[in-house]
Symmetry: D2
Subunit: 377 residues, 4 copies
């Protein structure tokens, strides 16, 4: 029997010329051919919005000067978009997310959820009231071996969990480059646009989300010591965090944007009373698994002995590396299945993950302000 | 100024349901949004061709029962395809390649060039007579650090080249799985379909092409010792090859499909009188560079100190791994630029690389048959 | 001119049959041929002491039933020992250390300094009053690349230090093996013999010592969260520690003996505003050095471009791996030079390092008891 | 019961001031405390011999001006040496080896066996006639994981062997440093002292010996392509070699001293129809083992799941790295057991390994001279 091909009609808010994460979302949406980019409010600058739309092959009448216009117009069209990707800076998530949710259009939103708790709560309320889906692109959960790890933990391969070591280290803010024309540095270190968090919001939330995704552990409390090493920097650029989980497991999180030699060093190590696993994002196709008392194993994406765990989330044979874009694409693929009713999206991060991330950011700031006092979840 | 977006109209020969490399070509063509898949002769089985086309969103009237029909019809259309991807087994390259070249349609052909020298020569003749372009997807040349390495060699960073060590090791044919329902194993070990070469044609040519791409060395002669370890196997599954280059450099090539623990172990090491570089495909975002007498350097794709060399061929920041599909996509991107006149395709493998690869396969077979006698280029 | 060879006469307290660290000290003392083992009080069990001495080639009249006898007798001999190695469990360091110091015999003592602060202070007083030297075998400071790292920090290669990440992970106590006949597990988890600390005393002090040795940073305060995951275990087997240093740098220390897959995972990462270095004990012959904005370098022990820094502390050419025993031996070599007046022992850990380690252990316990409150140095 | 300690009385020929390998032999002999260095003919220069002896604590009357004197005198003493280490350049092995064998004194000789086949045969004749033992220090066979690998092959863990990939790459002769005051470079590139082989004799024999030790395969024939890249160099500095083994397995050997970035890169990879192993000397405490169809395992020296295989040949717990000197020491330890009758020396390389190595060197030279013609064993 033949399945006729139907792509999800996708719109985008933000992501115009010069943006970084917008381009990533677009590539991710194309890899598995499940979307067509149909509409956009790509920039708050009308000329740039139009130019960007033209470059991307969006019809002029589907290029909007504002997300409000876009939500209204697209909801009214027979052939309107079915989903929208929101790829604006953090403080600009809530507005469009709520507008599209209210218009009944599915939302795929970049992380973290928002800049403030109020914004986050407003999105959560809109999700609750809407029939549309809400997906938060904690893209690292799309790596096949991360999903493999999650499955192994759930199957008890590690036994009762004891220790989680998560870290996300970069070096691009080692020097103070905000204010020198670097747009990414500008908004990510501006509390008004990023929210109060710097490294903890930009990358710490990824590490925090990922450890929760893999382990299933619920945080009980955290203690944080945040620093701003860059002179005059207004947000944290390095964070040392201790975690306590329900059930007794403990963790450490290190997030830094000032650690020379680290490009995008997201690493996760998890230990239970029966085994341990270790994984790093920069070479994501390999994970070590140490069953206690036996030789350590090198698990590879889709490789020998994986018991099928990796096979649904990977496109090419083992040894042919998949990377960041493919992991991201898996979220888009799952989202397409969810939207088109061919999948349940069970592994997709959503509003709960978003609220948990917001709690994390705010708890870190609160704890650090109180000299590391434990803040309960 | 605004550039209006225009995609290259792409057709495909082969690559229907159940195929591997066809899907890879399609993803590669989508990643940079430079193509739209418009027509296909996806299978020699008419029903499967139609079903595959429907799944891929190809209009029924652009799904053809044969490549001959397709070349004729598409050449006649105003909105006919501008390029065709040929992703059939090796012995089925020449027919469509020649047909489309004669029709003036650009050809993107999977490697190796053909199954026989006669076929190869016929394609070469057609390329010569045609105004259309011919691109051979030696995809590993699309990895940014491979292009970086080529540039470093050209700039003299390694000095005068002396030694090349290339290898491509896999293990999927360790057991004799041909004849057990594995289509990939079936045609790749069938001399009628693969050409006379097994491992040397399937993967050895990649290693040989890559070392030539990076070093620019011209082969003077080779000596080969081929084996078929799989019982009853009709083609080589392991090959040990010595190379002599013009100018005095020497090389070794090891290609194997029976080396347990190796998934897709393409590795390249090059040494000159001033330095050496080492790179492996399974973690393609890192390369070591050892300037003689100084500490070894870890170069990363797009990373610190690369002098821009990697930047044109990469999409995302260092530390965000790109993989096999992105490398492949870079060939498609370059091909689009070549076809649309926005690039010169200087780095794209073409008919010369194809003929050189055919020489390599046949010289290996001839040398091995003569107990390793040197065969001159 | 010829130098006549003269070895330091060495005695040993503890280290009889079945001991681990005693054998390590003996090998370390032999590697550079600077010592001869001449006397011993190898066990508190007289028969085992005698048997052990015979096996080690110690003359019967130099084998003592107690360290008190040994200190007295050896001090009285013309050819008495010049140094004594104390390799007993922690709670048995103070007695012999003080006895030999008072007898004017140089002391080489295993770490940590003692089981209690009172014992530690008593040793410190004895050191002050004695003309003899006191060396604490924080053996990891003997690795050539660690000394190289220290030198690089001192030279400003990393700029102003900001972040220290130290960890020491093992897995041998994942299951509760104390009480099952494992002597090492028994005393190391018995607060009476180990002091109050488990992992923090046994391995955490090594990590803490090492980070101080390399960075030269002074600790301002720490916050600790200690756990005993092994059921019924009386000491910590996992520790999460935050550090604040004078001058503003911050650090994290993770010490664990329950992390499956980790054998002896002592790792050190240090970042300043100009560069970073990373080193791991399990492959100690390699260290990465990332000057900010330039490619990361792989420094090797004695290797290209090290500027001589590694050459005094290494015996064989680069690429010929030196290991744990050689690093340990370098402390013995430096101690021999100090004792014989051919070196100043400037790099040897002594009583100050010992007291600092005791502070670390006790501060961790105190902080953890107060829910992670910061304890000032 | 008490075992009284008795050390083997050891002499040394060569190894005076400024020598490299002599110092290595001495450290290796001390590590397990089974030898005392008692006599020496340390240099052909009498003054240097005496000075070297004094530095090493050898009594003046046991320091000899020639090995002939030493063999005669020591054989006549009641307390004469029981074994002699020969650490002279290759062309100076035969004389002392024969002299000591004829004197009934056990010989521990550095590799390769000799500079010429005649010398080698003369040593072999002397071994045959003598009651004394002959040990050739192919030291890399002493690495615990190498012995583990040998055992795994013998137990059939890899199945029937198919492919051997061995390499030994260095870079210290990248530039022509012979004739500039570098003693090591001088004699190792002088055919009169090294024998006809350069890299093949100095390091190629190690690789060849090691692959035979681990696999137990018998060589049937080899084909070689030797180069001298250093201008004016009189011996090979790079060698590409193909091997055929009895029973059908095949191999490649690459030996180079002109590969920038390689310090002492001895690597061994072995594949059979059931699995593969890979090991590298620069981090010798880890080996990968890939049972076909299952995840690759990381075996560590003495580590989890090794089934005891590594335990006799290692001194310290897993994770505490042992290195080059410990591997070398294991040969000395086994030799002491053999000499004292407490072991059978079954794993020690001897005269057969020496003759096989000589065949290898000469066959490489002969094959290369005949354009790579196969030379049968």
């Amino acid at each position: 029997m033949t399945t006729s091909h139907r792509r999800v009609r996708l719109g985008m808010v933000g992501g115009g010329q010069g943006a970084f994460i917008g381009a990533v979302h677009r590539i991710a949406s194309r890899i598995d051919d499940r979307y067509e980019l149909t509409a956009g409010a790509l920039s708050s600058d009308a000329a740039r919005a139009a130019a960007s739309a033209a470059e991307l092959g969006i019809a002029p009448d589907r290029s909007y000067a504002s997300y409000e216009d876009m939500a209204r117009a697209e909801a009214a069209r027979e052939d309107g978009i079915e989903a929208v990707a929101i790829v604006t800076p953090n403080h600009m998530h809530a507005g469009p997310a709520i507008a599209f949710l209210e218009a009944g259009i599915n939302v795929i939103c970049d992380k973290p959820l928002a800049a403030t708790e109020d914004q986050a709560q407003a999105i959560a309320d809109a999700v609750k009231s809407s029939s549309a889906k809400f997906i938060l692109t904690h893209n690292y959960t799309g790596y096949p071996l991360i999903r493999q790890a999650r499955q192994m933990v759930a199957e008890g391969k590690l036994g009762k969990l004891r220790i989680v070591q998560a870290e996300y280290a970069q070096d691009w803010l080692t020097e103070v480059i905000e204010g020198t024309g670097n747009k990414q540095a500008d908004w990510r270190t501006d509390p008004a646009r990023s929210g109060g968090g710097g490294a903890i919001g930009d990358i710490g939330t990824h590490a925090y989300n990922l450890l929760g995704f893999v382990t299933g552990l619920k945080t009980a409390a955290l203690s944080a010591d945040l620093q701003s090493f860059g002179e005059g920097r207004k947000v944290d650029d390095n964070a040392h965090i201790l975690l306590r989980f329900e059930g007794g497991a403990r963790g450490m999180v290190w997030a830094s944007q000032v650690a020379p030699g680290n490009e995008n060093g997201l690493r996760l190590r998890i230990y239970g009373d029966k085994g341990g696993i270790e994984w790093g994002q920069e070479n994501p196709n390999v994970m070590t698994y140490a069953p206690f008392g036996q030789p350590k194993q090198l698990l590879t994406r889709g490789g020998a002995g994986l018991g099928g765990g990796g096979s649904d989330w990977t496109r090419i044979p083992p040894g042919h590396p998949e990377g960041y874009l493919e992991g991201f694409a898996t979220l888009y693929k799952d989202a397409a299945d969810l939207i088109q009713g061919t999948g349940d999206g069970a592994l997709l991060p959503g509003i709960e993950a978003g609220l948990d991330g917001m709690w994390f950011i705010n708890a870190c700031i609160a704890s650090s302000a109180k000299d590391g006092a434990w803040v309960a979840r």
